[in-house]
Symmetry: C2
Subunit: 212 residues, 2 copies
């Protein structure tokens, strides 16, 4: 298909597609004339994946590139790929941790150790948790890492199910793309549903009475 | 305290504090000299809240302003405040929904209706869910809104607990700030824990064997 058809089918504008081509996020099409190229289903699929990562996952362009390179790296196993995706998803907490954050990181490490979870020392989510704990304390709450216990329990339940559904049949590309999309899309869905559920329970507790 | 002490106590740089003062996110201090002012505990507290919203919540400055105004609006009830926070948290999906997204929105509405959740038609999370569903389909998955069912179940469980812990004693400021911080901080923690749990289960299924 031509670039105009690729644009129509994906809902991505032609300038954006040209930008992705220039940035090598999208492979070049097959040249059909000096200024024209032909694009295949694979291009459309890749374009949709890029959209999913940027729109739903909120990934920066450099992180999209890292994820796509990991997908295309045949030598990379599913577990390593997932690590790349998690790293790309951020958040990117830069800078040296403050004194109270260093202490919180140690507490989070003990908490994760007690759960028996097998997670890398470099996982950015460790620092996110430590930052969350530090924030609670700075805002005046008397909290320790145990405050995360109910969240860890449901996270464990969801993740066990999710990892079990990663396809072990089908192509490697299907499996890894499925893992990437699943991680990003269901994270957005979980966050959205928690907010909706909060609204629902808040309406029941604090909202105006409803005539049912 | 002086601005330098405020900076030290909060970990926020003086230029950033001055920026917040100019943008009226932080109230002015009490003038003590032509170029000096005195800041109180309330300033430190507000500064930490702004940091929580931007760093952990990833809120844009205009959204931080909306949340702070809602907190300061004495006429606003807890339920309305939570709506403001949710709206500020985004994501901000702009533009007209595409044809398949319009259809997905209708499906999400039926799904939420079947759950019996009392949520506003304007809740941005509705569109997030619809976008998530559309993305799954565009990536080739044969999914309907029922795919969100396990996520809705745990979201409901967490939200019921969270709303129940919103303080009904103490000052209004404590209650609403607590609700804001809880929403933002535990969302970040939940996302971080799901990723860690995925890594753990992925390591068990796909990773190298561990000698325990």
């Amino acid at each position: 298909m031509r670039i105009s058809e690729l644009s129509r089918a994906s809902g991505v504008s032609i300038p954006t597609i040209k930008f992705y081509l220039r940035e090598s996020l999208l492979p070049q099409g097959t040249p059909t004339a000096r200024t024209q190229a032909d694009y295949a289903e694979g291009h459309l699929h890749r374009l949709r994946l890029i959209q999913a990562l940027t729109e739903i996952g909120g990934l920066r362009l450099r992180d999209v590139r890292a994820v796509l390179q990991a997908i295309d790296d045949q030598a990379l196993g599913t577990h390593e790929l997932l690590g790349t995706v998690h790293h790309a998803l951020g958040p990117h907490l830069d800078g040296e941790p403050s004194h109270d954050e260093v202490q919180a990181i140690a507490e989070v490490d003990r908490f994760l150790g007690a759960l028996g979870w097998r997670v890398s020392q470099q996982a950015p989510a460790r620092r996110t948790l430590a930052r969350a704990l530090t924030t609670l304390r700075r805002m005046g709450r008397d909290a320790d890492a145990g405050v995360f216990e109910p969240y860890a329990r449901v996270a464990d339940e969801l993740a066990a199910r999710e990892v079990a559904t990663v396809s072990s049949t089908g192509s490697r590309l299907e499996a890894v793309e499925g893992a990437v999309v699943g991680t990003v899309v269901f994270e957005a869905a979980l966050v959205a549903l928690r907010r909706l559920a909060q609204e629902h329970h808040s309406a029941r507790r604090f909202g105006p009475a409803r005539r049912d």
